[in-house]
Subunit: 216 residues, 2 copies
DNA sequence: TATAAGTGGAGAAATTTTCTCCGCTTTCCG
DNA sequence: CGGAAAGCGGAGAAAATTTCTCCACTTATA
């Protein structure tokens, strides 16, 4: 028995599939990507897309709300499950980079400006910053986080990391981002832990991987 | 007296103006931005744009070549003028972030793929990596740069930084990027210099500035 | 000042994007 | 299982956007 407002199972699946796809497409092409492109990549017809989201704004809004919820969940889970606030912070920063949440960064962009001011989004933003503030100040208290690094810095760094390096072979882009995240976290430590030495990424290696992965 | 192939002075000015504008527009909207938009923002007529660059490819190519030259000049100047390789590296990373060179990152992107393989561009890429390699290994030698950070890491980090945070009030975006650059550089130091403590960017401050600068 | 080089921008033509419509398929309740 | 309601895909008309030419006008240079 289905409640009256409830979607049919396949419709619910499609709805989520569309949001997931849209998040990635928007992340790669910006919020101006065509609706038909989103539909095509989601593997649904244009009609299906428009039934769920009558216009671009409502799709963008759904993506934003969904992305915010994911970040909040990520932050809460990290805070609850990690013993040290530093580890929670580290997990949050890395986790965000994996979420492909570009759009969130544009919360003030012209394109998404009119949908980013809804009560739902604003309230989500506040909730996220609350959790992050807790993590950040706990990390300060345990002496792991530089005192001159605040929640705003964390969000700024996350904003850069989530954008990634499009246009690069995915595996290479992901690795560069992961390495950058590690550098940023190292730079945030109050008393830098001696990270175990590993191999640097040389320019030869960069070019070699760039070429071979692109052509494969 | 003008050499026969030489452009008239105003035409030369316009040509450079168009390249500069295109670099910024491409940085913000991706290489798919409309030609007319580039012309409009450059303050020239569509006809002028098309006379200088008959098609999108030739404009993208000119922007790429110009951007590469700027990065090379930046790296060379930093290497020559700074006593310490670390300072040269630091200057290069910050300098790149200011150049709005997004497009360069997409050197492999589908959109620019066909123009990024020209001998001119390839040769420029090699020249840039040569200078950077010199700076990076000198920084290793002076013990300032972590041994597990290579030229590829530097380029990866620069790639993230140059993209910036569009859609944010410019001043705020620039500051977040500057702060992120400092964190990254701190994370790259072998024996972190005790950076002078300054104020953290709190979430309240982030929101306050975001709101007030957006509305102004 | 004369001449050739360069310019702007209106607008036709081409392309892209949006979004509806409807015959067909799937879910799900009894 | 069978019927009804919900949902689906995608062709294609209509709208919007983008490209790119053309030429009367302006500007730089010798």
């Amino acid at each position: 028995m289905r409640a009256p407002g409830q979607l049919r199972a396949d419709a619910q699946r499609n709805r989520e599939l569309i949001i997931d796809t849209a998040r990635e497409v928007f992340a790669e092409q910006g919020p101006g990507a065509t609706m038909d492109e989103v539909a095509r990549l989601a593997g649904v017809g244009a009609g299906t897309l428009y039934r769920h989201f009558p216009d671009r704004d409502s799709l963008i809004h759904a993506v934003l709300a969904d992305a915010l919820e994911r970040m909040i969940a990520l932050a809460q889970k990290a805070r609850e499950e990690e013993t040290w606030a530093w580890d929670a912070l580290s997990r949050f920063v890395r986790g965000c980079a994996d979420l492909r949440l570009d759009l969130l960064i544009s919360v003030a962009g012209e394109q998404v400006h009119r949908v980013a001011g809804t009560p739902e989004i604003n309230e989500g933003r506040v909730r996220l910053l609350e959790v992050l503030d807790q993590i950040v100040s706990a990390a300060h208290d345990e002496g792991a986080l530089r005192t001159d690094v605040g929640t705003g810095d964390v969000m700024g760094v996350v904003g850069l990391l989530v954008r990634g390096l499009p246009a690069l072979p995915a595996a290479l882009g992901d690795e560069l981002r992961e390495r950058a995240a590690r550098l940023v976290l190292a730079g945030m430590r109050a008393h830098p832990a001696p990270s175990p030495p590993e191999e640097p990424l040389t320019s030869e290696e960069l070019i070699r991987r760039f070429t071979s992965e692109r052509d494969s």
